[in-house]
């Protein structure tokens, strides 16, 4: 565990010493502030469009940060050959994978906190509502969703050699799941048999990231998700994280590093 935390610490340091995160954060803030200043029919109580836009930016930024930081972790270690002195130490490969995962995931969590803090302030000052529990539910779900993304990307970075191809593939997969994952079963029903079985298999196999997309609940002030389902969603995420990480460890264990 100590080793895992040590590896994670380096990943987090990297994130805040590289400036990408700040760029994204500042761009998001600027866009939101500009949007907030646009005057629509002299009504300053209109807030949902602003919340929606801001959340959309938060989601995109968080996915970009999660995928790009994770995708370059192990390839960079390999390229700079720091993997060698690291593995020459009493650190197992499993610990390295877990450490990288933990680091990326916690780093994503920290950036999420920054983003949601800004979002909460922007929305709260306009709406004069502070639904703390809603935010808690949404942030946790978002964070666990990013956990799946990070684990998937980590697995990808061990399978595909080039970080750029890995991140492109991950973006396509994640985007696809978020946009059409929910409807795959309905689509399957309209297809002829062999493709139908395949689509249904895909539908049940993919991690349904769209469950975790609770933006509409925040934007439209819907009541809390039942805690029971919320908890189940977290367990669901953990299951996929576990599966992807196990896969990553298996792939990595067989790999020659030099």
């Amino acid at each position: 565990m100590k080793n895992i935390i040590a590896v994670a610490g380096v990943v987090i340091k990297e994130l805040y010493r590289r400036k990408d995160f700040y760029v994204l954060f500042i761009v998001t803030i600027l866009i939101c502030l500009v949007m907030a200043s646009v005057n629509i029919f002299h009504d300053d109580k209109i807030v949902r469009y602003l919340k929606e836009l801001c959340l959309l930016l938060v989601w995109i930024s968080s996915l970009v940060i999660a995928v790009t930081t994770t995708a370059r972790q192990i390839p960079a270690e390999r390229e700079n050959r720091t993997l060698l002195p690291l593995l020459a130490k009493p650190l197992t490969r499993t610990q390295l994978v877990l450490g990288k995962f933990l680091g990326c995931w916690v780093a994503c969590g920290l950036t999420l906190l920054c983003f949601y803090l800004f979002f909460g302030l922007l929305a709260g000052t306009r709406e004069h509502m502070w639904p703390v529990l809603n935010y808690f539910q949404a942030i946790m779900l978002h964070w666990f969703m990013l956990g799946i993304v990070v684990a998937l990307t980590l697995l990808g970075s061990l399978v595909f050699a080039a970080p750029s191809s890995n991140s492109t593939i991950c973006f396509v997969i994640i985007g696809g799941i978020l946009l059409v994952g929910r409807h795959l079963d309905h689509v399957a029903l309209t297809l002829p048999e062999p493709t139908r079985a395949i689509s249904q298999a895909i539908y049940f196999a993919i991690p349904h990231l769209e469950f975790f997309d609770t933006r509409d609940l925040i934007v439209h002030n819907w009541p809390l998700i039942h805690w029971e389902f919320w908890g189940l969603a977290i367990v669901y995420a953990l299951a996929y994280i576990g599966a992807f990480l196990t896969g990553a460890c298996l792939v990595f264990r067989r790999k020659a590093v030099n």
Binding site: V34, M35, S37, R48, Y49, R182, E210, T214, D216, L217
Partner: protein, 305 residues
């Protein structure tokens, strides 16, 4: 490395700033008649594809009207063929058929059933029902306005946008002046549009209580109306608006006791109506009164005696 990031950041900041300024100044620009073209940023940026976006935003506004939920092409959306927000304004007649309440149908597997806990899937409107259930007549409908505005900006030729926007602004937000501005903008972009003229007339009549002007505007609308042949939705919508204009004019004439012209208007309305029987009662009533008046009313000469 460090400095190049700073530059990148600066460039992005400037871009955002200029985009914001552009969005902010666009209305002012429009007023400057000498500005080039129709001064539309979107037209320059997107070309004709902007209509596609406009439609998207129009749908988005309707989704907002439904407190965030909207059926996708994969769900049963026959209950949503006409945007409810437009239907409720009375600007369009309804094409909706299908079950509104369970528009999504039962979930077809446990995964879908589970997933439905994570997004709003109940049919609610911003001004009724809704998550908190205390929204009757709520002015929460304001939330649909930005999308309508965006939609109008992108596709100024879509008259429904203007009438729907104006209706919600006027009826629920009590922003009569803004609604008036919207309609004028709409008329500017679509000179003589009878939908917009009709809504403008309602605004004069109901909000400014200026019946004369209202009637003039409606009369202009009726003059501008041209029949469209066919059985499709466009023709139906075209007839629907004429029916409403003619009915309004008929009502106005009746109030002013001009029974014959009232009957004329009602009959014109009937000629295009999908439910002619509903108007028949009014026409019969008027005819009866007219006949009664002709019989019982003594000639002027006699009356003075």
């Amino acid at each position: 490395m460090k400095s190049s990031r700073t530059y990148l950041l600066l460039v992005v900041a400037f871009l955002v700033l200029s985009f914001g300024l552009a969005a902010d100044l666009q209305p002012q620009f429009r007023e400057l008649r000498w500005s080039r073209a129709d001064g539309d940023v979107f037209a320059v940026l997107l070309g004709d594809s902007r209509k596609l976006f406009a439609n998207e935003f129009y749908t988005k506004a309707d989704a907002y009207y439904h407190s965030g939920f909207y059926p996708t092409i994969f769900d049963n959306n026959t209950a949503f063929k006409t945007a409810h927000m437009a239907e409720d304004t009375g600007a369009v007649h309804s094409n909706n058929h299908g079950e509104e309440e369970s528009f999504m149908g039962p979930p077809i597997d446990w995964l879908e059933k589970f997933g439905r806990n994570f997004f709003p899937d109940r049919h609610t409107h911003l001004d009724e029902g809704g998550p908190a259930d205390d929204l009757s007549g709520s002015d929460n409908v304001r939330e649909i306005l930005p999308w309508l505005k965006l939609s109008t900006d992108l596709d100024p030729q879509n008259v429904q946008n203007y009438t729907v926007t104006a209706y919600w602004l006027r009826q629920r937000m009590h922003k009569t002046d803004e609604a008036y501005q919207v309609l004028l903008e709409g008329l500017h972009a679509n000179p003589g549009s009878c939908d917009i003229l009709f809504e403008l007339g309602r605004l004069y009549a109901e909000s400014y209580h200026d019946t004369n002007r209202a009637e003039n505007v409606w009369a202009a609308a009726a003059r501008n109306w041209k029949p469209i042949k066919g059985d499709d939705d466009t023709a139906a919508a075209n007839n629907f608006i004429y029916e409403k204009i003619a009915t309004q004019l008929g009502e106005a004439e009746r109030t002013a006791d001009h029974r014959q012209s009232a009957i004329d208007w009602f009959e014109k309305a009937q000629s295009v109506s999908r439910t002619p029987a509903a108007l028949q009662a009014q026409i019969d009533d008027l005819k009866r009164k007219l006949a009664g008046a002709a019989e019982s009313a003594p000639p002027p000469g006699l009356k003075s005696q």
